[in-house]
């Protein structure tokens, strides 16, 4: 009897292992999760959860060798950058971490990994497998950047000519005498702009630069988190976080509905010397006009000086664009090529109106210029529409990256999930 049982067990084990071997074989390669990781995607796309980091995952990069470097807003176990490695099925495990500073920016270019704290920019030399050589000995490229309590992150990107672009966010909502104060006027000649509220350009390979070594490349930008270099026309594009508190600071001018819709979250195509006009104006996407800010004598209608830069595209208010990526991959259908993906982290300053965002948008481009209407590409990071409306989203999209095969990666800085979106239609 016992011997028979043993035989059965052995046979069953053998069958199971053979079956799982074949299952493994047929599963080879990257596959979408059965529930597409909870996301809603256009037809033909699928998604998988690459990893659950449980950390505040901000921007990320993915190497052709399947290593993922994720910048964390706050270090986890003393590591501000997580390193993960992907298995052949696309799922990744944590392989290490380094950098004891929190921050947002991370970018890979010409054999170096660049990463920022909220005051400095570092770079790490990579070997030919894109692995960081000395994680504890980065070069300090930029130092001493201003950091307030708000808009403190330093997103970064590089061009093809050895320059580094760093956002220095304005540590203020609208440069009021009393920040976010009730009917508080704007400071004349907003003094914040000399060292914040813009994009600064530095050399990518020079050590210990600060304001004196860099150039204020563009100004009048309240805060930029998502930015990318457009390779088609060799130009910097940024997504600005528009101002808040139109109703709470100026209730006589703006009701709660207007304050929820205005102002636009703007995409700007920047050239050296541009001025987007913060804090003196905001962009009204309903009137399609640059409007003088109430702190500077605006009345909701008065138009701002035409000298200020117009946005390339204006999106609904307060959705918090935290990631921008120009898609240059080959995996997705033709219409996505050279277009922009934008991760909208999701709003808070629309209350008591329903919150918006918590999705990834696709913005079509043609010849390096926006062309056609934007659409929601990846939705339901929040879990349900009710959770999105209440601002109680399960996940909040933040950083974007493109894999070597053309997959689109998205981080979530709420729970630390890393998503990978793939095109599955043959």
């Amino acid at each position: 009897m016992n011997r028979n049982l043993l035989k059965y067990v052995l046979a069953a084990t053998l069958i199971t292992s053979v079956a799982s071997f074949y299952a493994l074989k047929s599963d080879e390669g990257v596959k979408a999760d059965p529930d597409n990781a909870g996301l809603k995607l256009p037809e033909g796309f699928g998604a998988l959860k690459v990893a659950e980091t449980g950390a505040k995952a901000r921007h990320l990069v993915v190497t052709p060798q399947g290593d993922i470097y994720v910048k964390l807003a706050k270090p986890k176990d003393g590591k501000g950058i997580l390193q993960l490695h992907e298995n052949s099925d696309g799922k990744a495990q944590l392989t290490g971490g380094f950098g004891n500073y929190g921050g947002t920016g991370i970018y890979l270019k010409d054999g170096y990994l660049y990463a920022s704290s909220n005051q400095e920019v570092f770079r790490y030399k990579l070997n030919d497998q894109n692995v960081v050589l000395s994680p504890d000995q980065p070069e300090k490229i930029v130092t001493g950047l201003k950091m307030g309590r708000q808009h403190e992150t330093k997103s970064l990107v590089l061009d093809n000519d050895g320059n580094l672009y760093v956002n220095i966010g304005a540590y203020s909502n609208s440069c009021q005498v009393q920040d976010r104060g009730y009917q508080s006027p704007g400071m004349p000649g907003c003094p914040i702009l000399d060292s914040a509220g813009g994009i600064w350009q530095f050399k990518a390979n020079k050590l210990s630069q600060s304001y004196g070594d860099g150039i204020r490349y563009a100004t009048g930008l309240r805060n930029v988190v998502g930015l990318d270099w457009n390779q088609q026309n060799n130009q910097l594009f940024v997504m600005q976080h528009g101002r808040d508190n139109l109703n709470s600071s100026w209730p006589a001018l703006y009701d709660v509905k207007e304050s929820a819709e205005l102002p636009a979250e703007c995409l700007y195509a920047l050239k050296k010397g541009d001025n987007a006009g913060w804090p003196y104006l905001y962009y009204d996407q309903i009137q399609h006009k640059k409007i003088v800010a109430p702190e500077y004598g605006g009345d909701k209608k008065k138009e701002a000086d035409a000298k200020y830069l117009d946005p390339a595209v204006a999106y609904p208010g307060h959705m918090a664009p935290n990631g921008l990526l120009f898609y240059t991959g080959k995996m997705f259908p033709e219409k996505y090529k050279n277009g922009a993906f934008i991760a909208f982290h999701g709003s808070w300053n629309r209350a008591p109106e329903p919150q918006k965002g918590y999705f990834v948008v696709f913005q079509p481009f043609k010849d390096g210029k926006p062309s056609g209407d934007w659409e929601i590409f990846a939705d339901n990071f929040s879990g349900t529409p009710e959770k999105a409306a209440a601002g109680r989203a399960d996940h909040r999209p933040c950083g974007l990256a493109q894999g070597a095969d053309g997959s689109l990666y998205v981080t979530d800085d709420s729970k630390g999930s890393i998503y990978r979106i793939i095109y599955t239609k043959k």
């Binding site: 309590r149 976010r180 104060g181 009730y182 508080s184 808070w348 209350a351 008591p352």
Partner: protein, 148 residues
């Protein structure tokens, strides 16, 4: 065997410590001004006008930006500190119950003593909070000292 015993003892101690920690959370004051329906109604109105846009309808705040008002030591604890947050605003770099919040709260000293008393009493008795109310006299006293 001795080692296992040690581990068991250590684990038990750790567990006790942990439960002691959870117990040391701020306790709402048992006694104090009772909050009337009229105060709650007026407090709710003021909350909707000046507080809701940041602290949200459910009092849960906004992750990393605006602190929640439910179950926090700042709301349920020292009344003077709480009244001062309204009068002076809040922009200190402190962790509130283990989390940090970056948004600046402007002073709301333009609110009348009665309005501050009502909205704070409302907050201390909404969103699952249950604590004593705050009186006009308490606000008046803090404001008088705050001025000098």
């Amino acid at each position: 065997m001795k080692r296992i015993l040690m581990i068991v003892v250590l684990l038990t101690m750790g567990g006790l410590q942990l439960s002691a920690q959870t117990k040391s959370k701020p306790k709402p004051a048992a006694k104090g001004a009772k909050v009337s329906a009229a105060v709650m109604t007026n407090g709710n109105k003021i909350y909707g006008q000046y507080c809701l846009s940041c602290h949200m309808a459910d009092g849960g705040g906004v992750q990393n930006m605006n602190p929640p008002l439910n179950g926090t030591s700042y709301v349920l604890g020292d009344k003077t500190r709480l009244i001062k947050v309204i009068l002076n605003g809040f922009s200190q770099n402190v962790d509130i119950d283990g989390e940090s919040y970056t948004n600046v709260m402007a002073p709301h000293n333009f609110l009348k003593d009665q309005e501050i008393a009502d909205v704070l009493s409302y907050i201390r008795n909404s969103f699952g909070n249950k604590a004593s109310g705050i009186s006009v006299l308490e606000v008046k006293a803090v404001r008088a000292k705050n001025k000098k």
